[in-house]
Symmetry: C2
DNA sequence: TATTGTTATACTCTATAACTATA
DNA sequence: TATAGTTATAGAGTATAACAATA
């Protein structure tokens, strides 16, 4: 019931949706923009974002298992199966039996090489991301997000 | 290669993944937490988040069309079809021909009633969301997110 | 010619139930 | 008894191509 004095203007300039000031809406939108950008930077490595996350996690945690990766990254056990199969098919990880039930996930030499590329790309990406935020707000983003998660 | 002095502790306390300080990772995680919470609050109304967004948008913009909703909410034209069909089947919206090509989307009386519930729930939700952020960081979240989007 | 609404389709992501083998 | 890995499956979300009708 507002802005009925706007007809031919609608196409040239997008009117702000009634959602553009809502933190929740902005949060989703920012996450989508960020994910799309990161995904396109990882695409040349033939890796999805979740693949890169797994490589980083596996490199950091000695003898981590599939279930543990799932817990850390909030991925269902069942959904880990095709994920790890893909990384294994790409010769980036290998499995080593811990006992007859559990398998440790390790990076292969190729996986270690790829990990270096991932570190370079994500490091650069995160830096650019933070640099886009005006300096007076910059330091507040991480604690604010952590408060929302906690 | 860190923290191999940690065996039985792994289950009781989750070790921080090497991702938990990265703004990009936090952004995705915060968005997921927020979406899950909002979705569960809208569930009693039998609405998805995107449904609620459409109701808010349609109420705000006189004679908006399906294509325009799609542009505003970044939804593909083709994906608007089942979305609006669902809202129409629930008697929340109706279509009115603008010409022989375009249709205006309007709220039905039922749709207006449901919109009031949506406003109550989302308003409460956004308030609680912001209240969870420590006061010294609070005002910085929206501008920081807008900078990431812009 | 460009746009609207639509159909069909496919891929990703996420979630659940159930099974087996083992701890 | 609980857990690890797995299979199968289903529901969302998202993307593209193509078409008819109309602006």
């Amino acid at each position: 019931m507002v802005n009925n004095n706007m007809t031919s203007d609608e196409n040239s300039r997008q009117k702000a949706a009634p959602l553009d000031d809502l933190p929740g809406y902005l949060l989703r939108k920012a996450a989508r923009v960020m994910m799309a950008e990161l995904a396109s930077r990882l695409a040349p490595l033939d890796l999805r974002i979740v693949d890169a996350s797994v490589l980083l996690l596996v490199a950091d945690r000695e003898d981590i298992t599939s279930s543990e990766i799932g817990k850390a990254l909030e991925i269902q056990r069942a959904n880990m199966v095709p994920l790890l199969a893909r990384l294994e098919a790409a010769s980036l990880i290998e499995r080593k039996a811990l006992d007859r039930k559990s398998q440790a996930i390790h990076l292969t030499p190729t996986g270690h090489d790829r990990l270096q590329d991932v570190r370079t790309i994500t490091g650069q990406f995160e830096n650019e991301l933070v640099d886009r935020i005006p300096v007076e707000h910059r330091a507040h983003l991480v604690p604010a997000l952590q408060a929302l998660i906690g």
